[in-house]
């Protein structure tokens, strides 16, 4: 299905619509309205993780399940690989300590197995968080809005992308106004190909 490409009067592609909200409460209420309207390519922006926002956005579980799976795999690879490394090194170069059997006495291998499990889990959590969030992404059309930069300070926003199938300049604006937005603007995407 061909996407409708919206352009401004000067012919620049439109990235989407950015609506500012007064506080976390109105943002949460606004998010519920946008969620119920059936949008998919939209987001909320707040200077801190607003309590239960994932429920208001309707993304509970869906957004993190693959990330959790990757982190779990990283933990298993780290701990398993750590144990295997020590085991194979002892096959290659056997060190007998206190006359104990080389392989049956596996207990001294526990600390390093544990530490490597932790190390891989830590990298897994950070890197999979980046990967699933699509970071690093130093350029984003939203940064074109001066107003948007205040969201790292004290402003609350909902952004709806023009690429969303349900996007319509007039109706979406009306929806956001009804949802309690105090300021609405169009965000341009000069480099956008959509």
């Amino acid at each position: 299905m061909a996407q409708t490409v919206y352009k401004t009067e000067s012919g620049v592609n439109v990235f989407g619509m950015l609506a500012e909200f007064a506080n976390p409460h109105t943002l949460t209420e606004g998010a519920k309205k946008v969620r119920d309207a059936g949008f998919r390519k939209w987001d909320t922006h707040a200077p801190f993780p607003v309590h239960e926002m994932e429920e208001s956005m309707g993304i509970v579980g869906k957004a993190i399940a693959p990330m959790m799976f990757v982190i779990g795999c990283a933990a298993i690879v780290g701990a398993g690989g750590g144990f295997l490394m020590q085991y194979l090194i002892n096959v290659d170069y056997e060190i007998i300590v206190q006359g104990k059997p080389t392989y049956e006495a596996w207990e001294p291998f526990v600390p390093v197995t544990f530490e490597l499990g932790i190390l891989f889990t830590a990298f897994g959590s950070l890197l999979s968080m980046f990967a699933f969030n699509g970071l690093p992404r130093h350029h984003h059309p939203l940064f074109n809005s001066d107003n948007f930069l205040r969201c790292t300070d004290d402003a609350f926003f909902i952004s709806i992308e023009a690429a969303d199938g349900k996007f319509d300049p007039d109706q979406t604006r009306r929806l956001l106004e009804e949802a309690g937005a105090i300021h609405i603007e169009l965000v341009e995407d000069p480099e956008g190909s959509a």
């Binding site: 007064a22 976390p24 200077p47 993780p49 390093v112 544990f114 490597l116 950070l126 300021h183």
Partner: protein, 550 residues
């Protein structure tokens, strides 16, 4: 007299005639307003009704505004001391470990003492950020960032000592499981090798944890710099003289905000405070906190295995792992307080974010962990007696406790033992008094003593156990050389230099986390009928410039 009554200012602010936050009237029993004893009332985590914007301004201000002259002086001093460490390490590497006071009998001394001392200090950072995070202790936001930074810097200092005490440092790579020409692999049954993995994992995970927490704050710094650049408000970099002299300042041909926008922009990875991102971020952060907790317990346990798995009386005790962990938390909290209390006086508005309630909580932790450490000390004696091992009993009674002037069998290191007991067990006991644990000066002094005491604890464990082994023929003494002393002093300089650079350039407080715990952060703080009333009053004054929806 035209002096305006503070109540009048408050009244005007409440009525909306004057800008600024409404200040609560001073109640002497509440200290700065945070010492609420009523369990039905939540003590404020941030004083003076700060809005979201105020918190950004305060924390970003530390990094964006030029620091006071004290900072230049402190940095100059710390960097000079740090350079002494570099010279001493170079001298050691060129000459050999003979420049230290080690001998055949006492073959581990200040090097390992310093290692355990520094690695222990690091543990409070992880404890504050990880364990208090899992326990949902919101007061951790006042100190967690600085404590995490302290962890990294302490681990850097700790890493120096095992690295250089191996003697031929160019063989240090043999600690790692790398194939070499002799087809020799390291011994994975040795606690010393476990240590290599534990400490390097700890350093890496602490760094990731610290960095992850800072990503949203880096984004805040980035956007502030960007906004100033777009509005053409940024200025050229001025080189300030470290002393107030009436000389013209030198201007460099670039804008500080441009450097900030690139530097913090790079580090913040394009973070845009997205709700979808926050959701994954919070879960991943929780996992990091969850794995850091067993990690921090394991690291100092493994450090204690270096001693506990040997058969030397004084080292061969099963209580070592929990005792080392308690001591590490104790010493680390003392160091946090030692650093944060002066900053509270030196940096503007710092006391609003680090309240007396926070200090009181940390004083209580000092009291608890200090008493736990005291319990561990006494338990060592109990087991030495109960276990019926003559060597162990002698190691504790004669080599540690009994002064040489009381009994012929007494050891020359008795003063080190008693310095440890008085600093670690006795000095925190003053925190049973409410007045003491609410006085920043008293807490700072105790923190100072505890830091000294914790260094002595490691010295007592290592040197007094080694200096008299099983046979009197093996008895010897350890005397530090100037190189020993200056290397340790220099490592304090390294630590302080890094910390001073951190407070100058990085977000000292977790901005987004503090915003999340102040009133007005939760959607449930607002009720439909009054969301244009007093609740929002301070959120409104900076919303004034938002245009009408069009």
């Amino acid at each position: 007299m035209s002096v305006i009554n503070p109540d009048q200012i408050n009244a005007e602010r409440l009525a909306g005639l004057r800008r600024g936050a409404v200040r609560s009237p001073a109640d002497p029993t509440l200290g700065d307003g945070s010492l609420v004893d009523d369990p039905a009332q939540t003590a404020p985590l941030v004083l003076n009704n700060r809005s979201f914007h105020d918190i950004t301004e305060i924390v970003a201000g530390y990094s964006e505004k030029a620091p006071g002259f004290w900072w230049f002086h402190a940095l100059g001093f710390a960097a000079t001391v740090a350079s002494i460490a570099q010279i001493m390490i170079l001298y050691l590497i060129i000459t050999g470990v003979g420049v230290w006071g080690l001998n055949n009998q006492v073959d581990w001394a200040w090097d390992i003492t310093n290692f355990v001392f520094w690695i222990g200090i690091g543990h409070a950072g992880t404890l504050i950020s990880a364990i208090l995070c899992l326990l949902k202790q919101q007061w951790r936001t006042a100190v967690n960032r600085a404590a995490e930074a302290m962890t990294i810097f302490a681990v850097i200092c700790a890493g120096i000592f095992p690295g250089i005490h191996v003697g031929r440092v160019w063989f240090a790579w043999m600690l790692f499981p790398i194939p070499n020409s002799n087809v020799i692999w390291p011994n994975f049954r040795s606690p010393l090798l476990w240590d290599v993995f534990a400490v390097s994992t700890y350093a890496t995970v602490s760094l990731l944890f610290w960095y992850m927490g800072m990503i949203p704050d880096f984004a805040t710094f980035r956007d502030r710099a960007h906004l100033r650049l777009r509005q053409n408000k940024s200025r050229l970099v001025e080189l300030r003289l470290p002393v107030p002299l009436p000389l013209p300042t030198i201007k460099l041909p670039w804008r500080g905000d441009l450097v900030r926008a690139y530097f913090f922009g790079f580090l913040s990875l394009g973070w845009r405070m997205s709700g979808r991102h926050w959701y994954r971020y919070e879960k991943a952060y929780l996992i990091l906190a969850g794995i850091s907790t067993p990690l921090v317990l394991s690291v100092h346990s493994i450090v204690s295995f270096d001693f506990a798995t040997s058969i030397l009386p004084g080292w061969h005790t099963t209580i070592f792992p929990p005792y080392f962990v308690a001591g590490a938390v104790f010493g680390g909290f003392a160091m946090v307080l030692l650093l944060m209390i002066p900053l509270r006086a030196l940096l503007p508005n710092f006391a609003d974010l680090l309240t007396l309630r926070h200090l009181e909580n940390m004083a209580k932790i000092l009291l608890v962990t200090g008493t736990m450490v005291g319990f561990a000390y006494s338990m060592e004696f109990f087991i030495a007696w109960y276990g019926g091992n003559t060597f162990e009993w002698d190691a504790f009674i004669y080599n540690r406790v009994t002064p040489s002037w009381v009994s012929e069998r007494g050891a020359p290191y008795w003063w080190a033992y008693w310095a440890m007991i008085s600093c670690n067990v006795i000095s925190p006991q003053i925190f049973w008094f409410k007045k003491m644990r609410r006085s920043p000066l008293a807490i700072w002094i105790v923190g100072f003593f505890v830091t000294i005491g914790m260094w002595f604890e490691r010295f007592v464990i290592i040197v007094t156990s080694l200096h008299r082994a099983f046979l009197p023929g093996e008895w010897g003494m350890f005397f530090p050389t100037p190189v020993d002393i200056l290397t340790f002093v220099g490592s304090c300089g390294v630590f302080l230099t890094l910390f001073l650079l951190f407070i100058r350039f990085f977000p000292i407080f977790p901005i987004s986390e503090i915003k999340n715990v102040i009133p007005g952060a939760s959607p449930h703080d607002y009720h439909d009928h009054d969301h244009h009333d007093a609740h929002d009053a301070d959120a409104h004054h900076h919303k004034g410039h938002v245009e009408e929806a069009h």
